[in-house]
């Protein structure tokens, strides 16, 4: 497993290639790339500021990764998440999974990004012409994570 939290961009082709190189049992590589869109709430987005909790982020991503490996037979898992200032078109996150068969790779990749979105301590602040505001967690993301039986994390 491999988890990276970084300010810099990443090379998707090189990263995906590394998932299967030297692993002749890999028959399927499924990946998700999340990108900054140009519009939010019908306003042009100028920039996104991604804050995170160093230490806990890596720990939580490693836990999500371990959970995926417990559920599916995977050869390799890679999660790269950026932080800092990003602008429309920039890559935010890469989740990639290599497995012998495609169904495990698809399911695990979707599981990883669903859990990451509800558990990994990242917060987005959006800068538009109307100013900056913190992005609220989405009910749709909670619902997506709930499909996989995610544990609750409210503090009450």
């Amino acid at each position: 497993m491999s988890v990276r939290v970084q300010r810099e961009d990443f090379d998707v082709g090189r990263e995906l290639e590394s998932l299967s190189r030297g692993r002749p049992g890999v028959g399927a590589v499924v990946s998700f790339v999340g990108l900054v869109r140009d519009m939010v709430s019908e306003r042009p987005l100028l920039a996104l500021e991604l804050e995170h909790y160093p230490g806990m982020t890596e720990r939580e991503l490693a836990a999500i990764d371990a959970e995926a490996r417990r559920r599916w037979p995977l050869e390799t898992v890679l999660v790269i998440h950026r932080y800092g200032r990003l602008t429309p078109g920039d890559r935010i996150v890469l989740v990639a999974v290599a497995s012998a068969h495609r169904n495990a790779a698809f399911e695990a990749c979707q599981f990883l990004i669903d859990w990451l979105k509800t558990r990994a301590p990242f917060w987005k602040s959006e800068e538009t012409t109307a100013g900056s505001h913190w992005v609220e967690a989405k009910a749709a993301d909670d619902a997506a994570a709930a499909r996989w039986g995610a544990p609750e994390i409210t503090c009450g």
Binding site: E51, H52, R59, V93, T118, P121, W123, A137, T154
Partner: protein, 83 residues
């Protein structure tokens, strides 16, 4: 005890972290939240709605009855929005 704040909790409180002396009345996360709200109107306002506050003890999500000690790193933050 080290307290960390992130995202709008950090901007509302106007600080990213602080060292506090653990009061004797605080034994778990729920106690901590109660004590925090009594620290002043800024804290009371920022922590008014528990549904939008997550707590991590030593970088692991913690439920209300999770114990807290003087040597812990405790982080308070809103629901996450990465990915």
């Amino acid at each position: 005890m080290k307290l960390l704040y992130f995202a709008w909790l950090r901007t509302k409180l106007g600080l990213a972290e602080e060292e506090v002396t653990l009061p004797e009345t605080v034994h778990d996360v729920a106690d901590l939240m109660t004590w925090m709200r009594d620290r002043g109107p800024l804290y009371a306002a920022a922590l008014a709605n528990p549904a939008v506050i997550r707590v991590a003890v030593n970088q692991i999500y913690a439920r209300p009855h999770h114990p807290v000690t003087a040597s812990d790193e405790i982080a308070l933050f809103p629901p996450v929005s990465g990915g």
